[in-house]
Amino acid sequence: MILVDLIQIVMTTLTVGSMYALVAVGVSLIYNATGVINFAQGEFVMLSGMTVASLYGNMGWPLPAAIAVALAIVVIYAAFLMLITTAFAARISLIGVLIITIGASIATQGTAARIWDSDTHRFPPFSGDAPIRILDATITPQALWIIVVSTVCVAGLIWFMRSTIAGKAMRACALDPAAATMVGIPVRSTILLSFMLSGLLGAAGGIVTTPLTTIDANGGMLLAIKGFTAAMLGGMGSIPGALLGALLIALVETTTVTFASGAYKELPTFTIIILVLLFLPRGLVGGRHETGLHHDDLTRT
């Protein structure tokens, strides 16, 4: 294996992994807050990508304006998701919430296909196309954008959760909603915040990745599943775990594409899911310890 190939693999893994990290961290965030796995997670990415593609790419809006609109749309959508998944929470079983998020996901896909169309879209990269050479391996500037933005977002989130009152409130709610309420934390608002942050992460992902990988109305579901895999691999509910899981998944994918056929690149990822569920139910880093409202354990007994 030549050094060039190695560097190329590393670069691609970082790029793809950053993308998955944004989705996976978002999944873990919502799971932390509500014990729900959000099947519509990928739609955050899709919506923001499509919005910027049509506003900036097609209609010539300035990029910052397009980005602002995309973020706003996704945040509103995330709030709406929060409402439908937590309404009547007492009556609906976990399966019911699951079905609701699935329904939300496909409804969004259909709506997006109607508002825009079913083709793939992209818009021009932020800093142009000229590849940057690192020791004979190439990387496009957009990939650097992806890595940087992801790192900033995830680091920002971790800082937020550790150092701000609102972030600590989120962690408190995740640990024990009843106790949090007793201390005066508004649990519903905090859950709303979790959803919106999760949406922002996904939206950021969509905005930086679309110039490189294009987006289409149906692309969200596949991304969401990879996000789940990554989050589970690292430990569902753990944010550093989600990051780790995302990088690992990206690594597996990249090596598969490099050494085997590109057509089967999804195969290892989904095999990993099943292996993780079989052997590593707590994930690598260990998920959150569930208490309070959502006391499902990963396995039944």
């Binding site: 729900v36 796995i37 439908i84 309404a87 009547f88 009556r91 609906i92 079983s93 976990l94 399966i95 019911g96 699951l98 079905i99 609701i100 699935i102 329904g103 939300a104 996901s105 496909i106 409804a107 969004t108 896909q109 259909g110 709506t111 296909a113 109607r114 079913s118 109305a217 579901m221 596949l222 599943i225 789940f228 895999t229 589970m232 057509a263 089967y264 999804e266 195969l267 989904f270 095999t271 899911i273 099943i274 569920l277 079989l278 499902d296 354990d297 990963l298 396995t299 039944r300 007994t301």
Partner: protein
């Protein structure tokens, strides 16, 4: 005690009578109403009822929601298609043989994923479904890739191939009725009770000496075979299969069927299938609108009637009646 009340003491007898009456009425329908386009739709209902019944068994008895039914529908369809087109096997035989593949895969998957809780099971089965879709799309030599397979021989009995809708109708509805009867009897049997007990509290059941894992895997295999048979019958009716057969959207439609008809009612599943088929015909338009309507309806139904539309409505009617007498 009335005749009906006494019948409840003998569930198998009751089920047989109910299904028998149902089948007789279904068989009389073409006689009364004559041939027509609706026959085509009714055949689809018979075929699609099978994966719906399968999932209903799984969710009603075991309380689990899986998204793998589309995949097993596809495995049954493609398996039977490949055997009958490439190996010249008689369609009835190939349908049965394809189920061997379904059983093997379902047993393998089931053993692994059934100890998982609701949403993890959903993710695992969804991943499995994606793998199946991928394999179907990429293994072009076997499956014809994105184009699918054409020219699948129609099902036939005693050497005659079915060549008209009426013939298919009279072959498929008895099959569906038989499988419905099987499902109903399974549900009222010791096995059914054991499964419901497992759903409520597995540790207790295990302490009584029941191997919960075996039961759960067993019902998963049974429900997957239902889907697989449905898929094979579909292939031999429609004559072609594509990667869209038994896709994930299909699996979600089956979930929709249960959301409408009730998650733990077998007869409700039939109602749900009829509704969805009607909707597909007359109201859903093309793919994108369908997704929107499907998604929104799923959300709405689950929010208002968490146990399913039909059970919810029945409860509503019952409660109103109760309130009036009070």
């Amino acid at each position: 005690m009335s005749v009906f009340a006494k019948l409840n003491n003998h569930p198998v007898r009751r089920n047989t009578i109910q299904v028998g009456l149902f089948l007789i009425s279904m068989l009389l329908v073409p006689v009364i109403f004559g041939p027509g386009y609706y026959l085509n739709m009714m055949i689809f209902i018979a075929v699609l009822a099978l994966p719906a019944l399968g999932l209903s068994l799984l969710s009603g008895l075991a309380g689990q929601l899986a998204i793998s039914h589309g995949a097993f529908f596809a495995i049954g369809a493609y398996g039977s298609a490949i055997l009958s087109t490439r190996a010249g096997v008689n369609p009835v035989l190939s349908t049965l043989l394809a189920q061997l593949l379904v059983i093997a895969i379902a047993a393998g998957i089931g053993a692994v994923v059934l100890r998982l809780r609701s949403h993890y099971l959903a993710i695992a089965t969804l991943s499995f479904a994606i793998i199946v879709e991928l394999v179907i799309e990429e293994w072009r030599g076997m499956t014809g890739g994105m184009q699918g397979m054409l020219g699948i021989p129609p099902i036939g009995l005693f050497g005659h191939e079915a060549s008209s809708d009426i013939q298919f109708y009279y072959i498929y509805w008895p099959v569906t009725a038989l499988m419905l009867l099987f499902a109903l009897n399974l549900s009222s049997s010791r096995i059914g009770r054991a499964l419901r007990a497992i759903r409520e509290g597995e540790p207790v059941v295990s302490s009584l000496g029941i191997h919960a894992a075996e039961y759960k895997t067993g019902i998963y295999v049974v429900s997957s075979v239902f889907a697989g048979v449905g898929g094979a019958l579909y292939a031999h009716f429609v004559g072609f299969v594509t990667p869209a057969t038994g896709s994930i959207m299909f699996a979600i439609e089956i979930i929709m069927v249960l959301a409408l008809g009730g998650f733990d009612r077998l007869w409700g599943a039939l109602v749900g299938v009829a509704l969805i088929t009607l909707l597909n015909e007359y109201a859903l338009g093309f793919a994108d609108y369908k997704k929107i309507i499907l998604g929104v309806t799923l959300i709405a139904v689950m929010l208002v009637f968490p146990r399913g539309l039909l059970p919810g409505l029945i409860d509503l009617v019952r409660n109103r009646r109760f309130a009036r007498t009070a």
